[in-house]
Symmetry: C2
Subunit: 364 residues, 2 copies
């Protein structure tokens, strides 16, 4: 595949027109676009504009209901449960996170769960929303089952990312990680490359370690067993049951505490995704002077940055640093798109009437 | 080493007399004993009675201050910060967790951080305290630095366990895991065995993967570089930066939010441990009918238990099941002790005047 760059602002304009073309209002279209393109800005190609085709299918096939009216079905001063009624995940996500933030601003802590949503983009976006408003933020989502629990051979949990953010003296500390070793997209890269998988990533249909990306991905697509391993790998030797445990924590916070659907039921009901999310905001002022706490975190991060490097390594990264630096570079240099994604954008531009806004290659 | 069994009730009696012998009152002595022996009951030898010698040294050398008066230095309806003043970790832990539980019972959520404490035993004990009182519980602690951040060669973070518990229709769901691949005790086992370490556990003083347990442990003891890897292993291939991130989450919740000391400063000030903890309790009734939410979790756990097993495996475990089953077996069959631990208990019995209560071998 060939890669080309397009201007970020032009791409954003195009995306907003695309979502307006589907029927979202302008505020909604900007929200969806900003979550989607935050992945590209962060250098996370897998979750960015290359997923537009996925959202296109989910919207046009009716999994995403354009006219959905989300309902708050349970609420306390510190908490709420939102019935998503199959609305777009990004719209539900921003609404629910802001609700958690408002509760935390009023009472110190806020936690909002959402059931019956769709894919909501990158978890880190929502955690960072809280940090940008001066609070600690967390977000989690369950996803279609792809993780095999320790000693199993059937996918029962999702990639189940957990994101956490806290303000510092500089950019927020931002951790965002799937609780699987790798996301599905990494297997697809190895299929394209035609090279074997590293040991400890995936299991075959018998629940045995597999280095064969075609076999594993084929099994995932046809639901014939196997899948991706929890963080920590297979069995107990490198503690795969810990990744499985963090994924359980995510299922409890999202599906169980929303009265929703665990990962093994996602995309199982025709016409519905049934994804669940969780959003938490907390005012660190509940534990002392905010400026002092943030300075203390900043100091520790600096000590880690300055600690001794492994032979051959020049830099120890703090979580979120690569992404924050990518934001600057991508806004300056443009978003890197591959041919396939660009062709999909052309089709989608036609379909939604946004074709006039299709960004041109910067390097053509 | 030879192993023998002693009666659990007799061992408990002995331990209580030991701690009374140091000068703790009877309620405190029972608290410390119950946290300590919970590890043996759970089948976690590394954190149980074999650590009595460690506490003996910390108490007799004055790291643990018997007459410490912990102070609540900051408090809101949902939160508190406790200055531990070098009190025994288990006493601070039970006090702080009960405070978080009481806040959650009153307001839905409670989070209490503790600074300047000592080692507090297994994190899961405190999380389960909340579950036994009908709430969701979490606990974390930082520990002496032993984890090397991704691309580093200097230990900057601790094993930093994260524990989480929620009531179900049966025993509570209970996840308790160090965020390193393995605890230090596992390296010691490999030194005794004289066998090589599995790849992905530890780094040498240059920050390179090492299979040599003597070299790694020697470096840790003499603080000459290297250490244990975060969950996910070395570099980025199997996502070691994720374990490093979960360890950061633990540092923030414990050291940063208590105004305390990060792992890289633990046991660095003469005469002080400077360990920090975090305790969280949450009423799941903030998200709907508690019985329904617990039934829904129980159903999901049962689906995982019944899901397809890997070839050669008979059982998929739920976190906390092995430990709950061990409780029953150990209370019935006795606690397994090795000769060395028993000899240490004899010495400690002499020292504290608890020698008359030393339990006899059941199988002698």
């Amino acid at each position: 595949m060939n890669y080309h760059r397009v201007d970020y602002a032009q791409l954003r304009e195009f995306c907003i027109h695309v979502f307006e073309g589907y029927g979202f209002d302008s505020a909604q279209s900007a929200q969806i676009t900003d979550v989607l393109l935050d992945a590209d800005l962060s250098g996370i190609e897998s979750h960015g504009i290359q997923r537009l085709i996925r959202y296109h299918h989910e919207i046009t096939e009716g999994l995403v209901k354009l006219d959905a009216k989300p309902e708050v079905v349970f609420e306390t001063p510190l908490s709420a449960v939102i019935e998503g009624n199959d609305a777009m995940g990004q719209i539900l996500g921003m609404q629910a996170m802001q609700m958690a933030i408002d509760k935390a601003k009023a009472s110190g802590f806020g936690m909002v769960t959402v059931r019956n949503s769709n894919h909501y983009g990158i978890a880190g976006f929502y955690a960072r929303m809280a940090a940008e408003q001066g609070l600690i933020g967390m977000s989690m989502t369950n996803t279609e089952a792809i993780m095999v629990p320790t000693f199993g051979r059937q996918a029962m949990l999702g990639t189940n990312p957990i994101a956490f953010a806290m303000p510092t003296d500089g950019a927020p500390y931002l951790f965002d990680a799937a609780t699987t070793v790798v996301p599905r997209g990494k297997l697809e890269v190895y299929v394209k490359r035609g090279s074997g998988l590293p040991l400890g990533w995936a299991l075959d249909e018998n629940g045995q370690d597999s280095a064969d990306p075609d076999r594993v991905l084929g099994n995932i697509i046809h639901k014939t067993g196997g899948g991706i391993l929890p963080l920590g790998g297979s069995g107990e030797l490198t503690s795969g049951y810990k990744g499985y445990g963090f994924a359980m924590l995510c299922e409890i916070a999202t599906a169980i505490l929303s009265g929703g659907t665990t990962s093994n039921y996602i995309y199982k009901t025709p016409g519905r995704a049934n994804i669940a999310h969780c959003f938490i905001a907390m005012d660190q002022g509940m534990f002392g002077d905010k400026a002092e706490l943030e300075a203390s975190l900043s100091r520790f991060l600096q000590e880690i940055r300055e600690s001794d490097k492994a032979a051959g390594q020049q830099r120890i990264y703090i979580h979120g640093e690569k992404e924050a630096e990518a934001h600057v570079a991508v806004k300056r240099d443009g978003v890197l798109l591959n041919d396939k994604t660009y062709a999909e954008m052309e089709m989608i531009g036609q379909y939604t009437g946004a074709g006039d806004y299709l960004p041109k290659y910067l390097d053509a």
